[in-house]
């Protein structure tokens, strides 16, 4: 198990404009590290730089304790799963799995044994003699996974490996990849654009946007305390609601552009230096007044309603735009209704309007199940 360290890494194609810049991160041995960001943010490029498929134009990459900037891909002790799996269509599943071992001239008996073990781990034993085109998407994905595992490399890179699978299979493979990674203790660097994958799989997540790190942290930390409005809207579904608001310190009020007043807990705005801020609040913290007893309430006009059975998601006018709220249960709300909405203001984040910096953290929301509670 090895760690991967990126020190001030940057990449530019034309030697003028950096597509990736100032990447500083240490990925610990055995960690499941997720790189997430919208398309074109540079996450795949970063992964390819770690793999050695793309030149590093600035900074240092360390694998283990060794500087690896100039090492060829094969000397970096890693395996990689590609988005389109990159299976050799003319070779059988078994030959695909052993390809890397053939290259490294692993003894034949050993090769066979390792291939069979890996195939068994991934449930591919019955398909060893088939060609990739005779497999379903999910089976191909497993072959790609098997090929990465069989090399026994301490570091595994994955480039959006689940994006070609249907939703159900994707959910299944998420937990399977996670399970294998834990079992083998591999250092995993996993690229995805899907925030659900990032949240559910990663020990730590790094959010990239236009080639720059937005935030690094554990999934819950990022969800609860997003470093800026970009992270706030990128992680979580539906995204966090944002709106510019005027700060009225004396009354402990935030006033949105359309005049909606939100009463904040007493004294919570005292340390805010700005006169205008971006208010951020997650849809689940906008509650029905019945549930959110004692919380400040404001009225808003509903614009769209989706009843999903276990919850009701609706949007309403707030500030200059629309906000979304998520209420548990099935609510009879019609577009055009004016309804009261309670705000859990303790869970609101405030961001600086100029640079997007987080100026007020939301209260922690993690809960634990107590012994007594479980007994009941």
């Amino acid at each position: 198990m090895k760690k991967v360290e990126l020190i001030d890494v940057s990449k530019s194609y034309d030697r003028q404009k950096d597509v990736i810049s100032n990447i500083n991160v240490t990925i610990e041995p055995g960690e499941f590290f997720v790189l997430v960001g919208p398309s074109g943010c540079g996450k795949s490029t970063m992964l390819r730089m770690i793999a050695g498929l793309e030149e590093i134009t600035g900074g240092t990459l360390k694998i283990g304790e060794k500087t690896a900037n100039r090492l060829p891909p094969s000397k970096r002790d890693l395996s990689m799963v590609f988005q389109n799996y990159a299976l050799y269509p003319h070779l059988t599943v078994e030959e695909n799995i052993t390809f890397g071992l053939d290259v490294k001239k692993v003894p034949k008996a050993d090769r066979k044994k390792r291939a069979l073990d890996t195939a068994e781990m991934l449930g591919l034993t019955d398909y060893l003699k088939r060609k990739p085109r005779e497999l379903s998407g999910g089976q191909r994905q497993r072959v790609a996974l098997a090929r990465a595992i069989v090399s026994e490399a301490p570091i595994c890179l994955m480039d959006e490996p689940l994006s070609n699978l249907d939703a159900k299979l994707r959910a299944h493979m998420r937990s399977e990849i996670r399970r294998i990674q834990k079992r083998l203790g591999i250092t995993m660097i996993y690229v995805t654009h899907d925030q659900v994958e990032a949240m559910t799989m990663g020990d730590r997540i790094m959010i990239l946007h236009s080639g720059k790190i937005q935030q690094i942290g554990s999934p819950i930390e990022i969800y609860n305390h997003p470093a800026n409005p970009f992270v706030a809207t990128f992680i979580g579904s539906p995204p966090m609601n944002l709106a510019a608001a005027d700060v009225r310190k004396e009354a402990s009020l935030l006033v949105l552009a359309n005049g909606t007043e939100i009463v904040m807990p007493k004294g919570s705005l005292d340390e805010i230096a700005e006169e205008r801020v971006t208010l951020g609040i997650r849809p689940e913290f906008l509650m029905p007044p019945v549930t959110g007893e004692g919380l400040p309430v404001f009225d808003a006009e509903v614009t769209n309603v989706e009843v999903l059975g276990h919850e009701t998601v609706f949007s309403f006018v707030a500030g200059e735009g629309e906000w979304t709220a998520k209420w548990n249960g099935q609510w009879q709300i019609q577009p055009g209704d004016r309804i009261p909405i309670a705000v859990d203001t303790g869970s609101a984040c405030l961001f600086s309007l100029e640079d997007g910096r987080l100026i007020r953290k939301a209260a922690d929301r993690q809960r634990t199940v107590t012994k007594e509670g479980a007994a009941l």
Partner: protein
């Protein structure tokens, strides 16, 4: 259930449509196929059957069938030293041009598939022979093969090697024609092979690189198997082309010297339009057709096993 059954009973049984209506789709299809049928009929099938028909006859000056002779034309051919010589020259010619042509085109395609600055220039140059007509190319080669002013002999003279009578020496003529033919065919083969190479998923090579496979290992285990359908196509086309070479022979050697470059197609031409023996010429044509057919069938039977289709 009962309501459904009642509802079904009320639908009147549909009358079986007439023949005219039933064949509507077939007739539409025929209409679309008609232009191809006419073109193929006039330019391929009619001449083909006419050739087979004529091969059983002795013909008059205008090429009309005069006397039915059965298989005599074929018997005559198989006993004729000139024809056997043609057949031998053709086989040699095929052996000279096809393997060398494909290997050279593959080599150039592999070079031109690299991602380098200005590679577009080389791709254009390598494929440019495709745009040169056989006649024009032959004239250029005629000058290069010229014994005294030709480029080849001048080059040899630099190293004090004596002159070679490229097109005039019976031992060299077929070889010389083969060289020029390889040159002419390279452009086409190159372009098709390059297309095939570019179709191979780049990720396969990246994956192999991470596994540590070197260039030749990748070439042997990824490139060639993935390219096999293209290679198979090119070999088939080159074989057929080689069997049918005509233009360069007519311009460079006219079948000489001493019949050494008298390939079958040229021999057919001579027999028909110089000697006016349309009967034996047709028999030769049928013979060539059968040869190409057999070779192609053999190739599909044995070559295609090694071909991997996506």
């Amino acid at each position: 259930m009962s309501t459904i059954r009642e509802g079904a009973a009320q639908v009147p049984a549909e009358k079986r449509p007439g023949v005219w209506t039933r064949t509507r789709r077939g007739r539409t299809a025929l209409l679309y196929l008609l232009p191809s049928f006419i073109l193929f009929g006039v330019f391929v099938f009619y001449p083909m059957f006419r050739t087979i028909y004529l091969s059983f006859f002795l013909t008059d000056q205008r090429g009309d069938a005069a006397v039915f002779v059965g298989l005599d034309n074929y018997r005559y051919l198989l006993e004729s030293a000139a024809f056997l010589n043609s057949a031998k020259a053709t086989i040699l010619f095929v052996l000279y041009t096809v393997p060398a042509g494909v290997v050279i085109a593959l080599f150039l395609a592999l070079l031109a598939n690299e991602k380098l600055k200005g590679i577009g220039f080389f791709r254009t140059v390598y494929s440019s022979t495709m745009g040169v007509s056989v006649a024009a190319a032959s004239v250029v080669w005629l000058f290069m093969f010229h014994p005294s002013i030709g480029m080849f002999n001048r080059f040899l003279a630099l190293f004090d090697i004596g002159q070679i009578q490229w097109l005039l020496d019976p031992d060299w003529a077929l070889f010389s024609v083969a060289i020029s033919t390889i040159w002419m065919n390279t452009g086409f083969s190159f372009l098709i092979l390059l297309g095939g190479l570019q179709n191979i998923d780049e990720h396969l090579y990246e994956s192999a690189k991470i596994d540590g496979a070197g260039y030749f290992y990748q070439l042997r285990r990824i490139t060639l198997p993935m390219l096999s359908p293209t290679l198979f196509f090119i070999i088939t086309i080159s074989l057929i082309n080689a069997f049918q070479s005509f233009g360069q022979i007519d311009i460079l050697t006219k079948g000489g010297p001493a019949q050494s470059t008298n390939l079958i197609v040229y021999s057919i031409y001579r027999e028909a339009f110089v000697n006016y023996q349309f009967g034996t010429a047709s028999a030769q044509a049928v013979f060539l057709f059968l040869c190409i057919l057999v070779v192609t069938i053999l190739q599909f039977k044995f070559g295609e096993r090694k071909v991997h289709y996506q």
